[in-house]
């Protein structure tokens, strides 16, 4: 097998050196009743060209050349080519976790830069080296608040990504953390009155997303005020990292749990992505995930090391801040390079383009259908309510190589025929005009969706 650097003569030499007659001797400790005496039923060994062909076929089956209006927690942005040039270097791609600092300074310094840039972007004082993704980062940030306050219940905005809420529910269930939901108002923002009623002396934290699932920017200051008055912490989740280029970060938050996928990480059918937790310095010892710190070596030279490791599983075991071991280092490096490429000016310009595209699209849709949640600022996503079922619309426009907005009925049935549309710098005016035109065709006549339109399997 071509990955194995041994000739038959090599294997013979090794067996002789060990004093074994055959390789079977070395597997003698496996009880005979379990030994596999047949080939595994997996596809036969393929040549490299066959592997390439097989996956190329799968890629074709997935289709390409579609204009997409999907966001909802995963965003289609341009990836500068030097990201892959650099992360494909074997010294980054095939390096291990930087526990041995002297021979991992490349990884460690780039993580330190990553942590620094996330702090600048989020307005927080310290950031970790990555979590699995935005959804688990939010759950872990909530658990952090529970540990810090000593309180157990959590108030969650209903305008937080529904799948993030599902993940939180899974994590919370086993920690006896009661969750309560605060609904959203006419402007798409968390209903402050409902929030005030939901927060009690037992509330560890309030968790909201901004820009939220609908693309609306929350009134973070007001929410922070309500939370802090009752001694609760504020955790803010950010799913569209590009928003930080033009939208004020939630500086009043105690913990920010981010998804950095927008910064140079491919959509890749849902993963791997890049979660990050950022917080105030006073909370750092309760923060999960790896941390890189600056220090000096014996000769006074600057260097970087993993630090505050006593929070982590390999030392603290059952008392650890989290069980996380492997994180998303290579993906965080992509994010790091992306932030470096765009930098101080570029990130703002990128965000402005996103905003401009979404504003134009919302205006155009608004001529034929209803754009929900007026009255509050938005970033690059907005909700459109149509008379036609969004599933039917999407089926129709798919034939024109357009992927329409995300239908919301499954998660927000009260919104009826509403869908979440996203525009990024990659969305062309032509695509917007075409999509709007196709949607406009059926406004005025109500059409139900067919079984084939609705994607999910129901029993």
């Amino acid at each position: 097998m071509r990955y194995l650097p041994k000739s038959p003569a090599d294997r013979e030499a090794l067996l002789r050196a060990i004093g074994a007659r055959s390789i079977d001797d070395l597997f003698a400790s496996i009880p005979a009743e379990y030994k596999l005496d047949r080939d595994l039923k997996v596809p036969r060994q393929m040549a490299e060209s066959e592997i390439v062909d097989w996956f190329r076929e799968r890629s074709r089956e997935n289709g390409d050349g579609y204009a997409t209006f999907l966001g909802a927690g995963a965003y289609y942005h341009y990836r500068p080519v030097i990201i892959d040039s650099l992360i494909s270097r074997g010294e980054f791609l095939t390096a291990y976790t930087p526990y041995q600092a002297e021979i991992s300074q490349g990884t460690l310094q780039s993580i330190f830069e990553f942590q620094s840039m996330i702090c600048e972007l989020t307005g927080m004082e310290v950031a970790n080296a990555s979590m699995y993704d935005g959804s688990t980062a939010a759950a872990e940030a909530v658990m952090m608040a529970v540990r810090l306050t000593g309180r157990r219940s959590v108030v969650v905005g209903r305008s937080l990504h529904p799948e993030y809420r599902e993940v939180l529910a899974t994590y919370a269930f086993h920690q006896q953390m009661p969750l309560s939901l605060a609904g959203f108002g006419e402007n798409g923002r968390v209903d402050l009155k409902a929030l005030e009623q939901a927060i009690t002396e037992e509330t560890a934290c309030v968790l909201i997303q901004s820009p939220n699932f609908f693309g609306t920017i929350e009134d973070v200051a007001a929410v922070a005020d309500l939370a802090h008055r009752r001694g609760a912490m504020l955790v803010v989740s950010i799913a569209e990292a590009v928003s930080l280029g033009i939208v004020e970060p939630p500086r009043q938050a105690d913990v920010i749990a981010m998804e950095a996928q927008s910064f140079g990480v491919p959509l890749g059918f849902g993963g791997p992505y890049c979660g990050v937790i950022a917080t105030r310095e006073q909370f750092v010892r309760q923060m999960p995930g790896r941390l890189v710190g600056q220090t000096t070596d014996r000769n006074g030279k600057r260097g970087f090391v993993l630090t505050l490791a006593t929070r982590e599983q390999h030392i603290r075991r059952e008392k650890a801040t989290s069980n996380i071991c492997t994180n998303q280092a290579l993906v965080a490096l992509m994010v790091n390079i992306f932030m470096t490429v765009y930098g101080k000016i570029g990130l703002r310009e990128l965000a402005k383009q996103n905003l401009a595209k979404a504003v134009y699209a919302a205006q155009q849709f608004g001529k034929h259908a209803k754009v929900l949640f007026p009255g509050a600022p938005r970033f690059n996503e907005f909700v459109v309510e149509t008379s036609e079922d969004p599933h039917a619309i999407n089926s129709r426009i798919l034939g024109h190589k357009i992927v329409g907005g995300f239908p919301l009925k499954k998660f927000y049935p009260e919104l009826g025929n509403a869908a979440l549309w996203c525009c990024t710098e990659m969305t062309t005016r032509t695509a917007i005009d075409t999509a709007v035109g196709l949607v406009a065709e059926s406004e005025g006549s109500v059409k139900p969706a067919t079984e084939a339109d609705v994607e999910e399997v129901t029993r």
Partner: protein, 129 residues
């Protein structure tokens, strides 16, 4: 390594010095030597209760964490604030780098602890100095 004779000692390497009403608690020089360079001490807040034999905090080196076990029960009256910024004081002189001062709930609890001589023997058996 001399252990102060007016201290009492636990099997988990804490020391306690008391006047019958209040007591001062720290960890022994054997403990700090085993831990190596101490980087952080996690101590309870004044006013909180600690219970004999139960953990009341922890002490960290770069690569390890050790729980602190209360030699006696009581309410925390004072916490050594110096240790928050200079935990290395424990490495320098463990027997004077006190951690907490408590008002004793039951001074009788100290009777079951080891004397300096007993502790020295105990440590020698454990493979200490």
């Amino acid at each position: 390594m001399p252990y102060p004779s007016d201290f009492k000692y636990t099997k988990e390497h804490e020391w306690i010095k008391s006047d019958g009403r209040t007591a001062t608690i720290g960890i022994t020089s054997y403990a700090q030597d085993s831990l190596g360079d101490i980087v952080f001490v996690d101590l309870p807040k004044p006013g909180s209760e600690i219970a004999a034999g139960k953990t009341f905090g922890s002490v960290e080196s770069v690569k390890a964490v050790s729980d602190l076990y209360a030699p006696a029960s009581g309410a925390v009256a004072e916490v050594n604030g110096e240790l928050a910024t200079a935990p290395e004081k424990i490495n320098k002189d463990a027997h004077s780098a006190w951690m907490v001062k408590i008002t004793l709930k039951d001074p009788g609890e100290l009777n079951s602890l080891m004397s300096a001589a007993d502790y020295e023997k105990f440590v020698a058996e454990e493979g200490g100095h």
